[in-house]
Amino acid sequence: MARTGSSAAQAGFAPVDGGRMQAPVITVLIDLPPDQDYHVATLAALDHAAHSLSMPLEVRVVPTDTIESHLIADPGAAVVVGPGSPYRNRERALDIIRSAREKGIPLVGT
């Protein structure tokens, strides 16, 4: 499972294996520090699920105060809203949730 910053990947998929396959990009909204237990557990759960499905995956961790307009327009192949509220920028997080709802993009909020 690859992990990228918020600038990676367009249109929900990112090239892997030299561009031959397209890995779905999962956007994880989380403000907790990377070494915090719930942050680690959220990424690990995606990793466990991806391995069980033999599925390539690119995870894009996005703190809510770094959400840019293009991410709201294109939230990726799926969105995970992680634990740890209050979020630094709740309004932007709500914009992503609305976008995923309206576009039919899979989303889970925990």
Binding site: A44, M55, A78, S85, P86, L94, P106, L107
Partner: protein, 135 residues
Amino acid sequence: MLVEHARNLAGIQDATHAEYRAGGTEVISLLGCSLQGQTITVALAPGSRLARLYGALQAVERTTCSYGLALEMQHIASEHGMRPVAIDDTGEVRAVERTDHPFFLATLYQPQLRSEPRRPHPIFVGLLRAVTRRD
């Protein structure tokens, strides 16, 4: 997700979460008895996507939540395409899903805390399966 639902679909434009202490209508409020760090048992709604994911009508999960759907707002979990799909043993809503969406699920517990390499959590597996169905 419930705040977004309340604002944009249920017509509660000032819907907010008590944690922000910013005024407005509290859709998410502080639980009388904090569930932080507890294990809860939830009953899953028959026929729901969540119950299908678990393959069961009951689940035991860990929670770090100190907040839940406000008692006077419980009705919005059953309106405008939302459906309550997990209820704890106090009768409070612990998960909702949309009936008009391929996969749109919110839990007031943390399934990721129970995921293991050889036992991935069904919610996360379901999320990724939903991604592959969209390809």
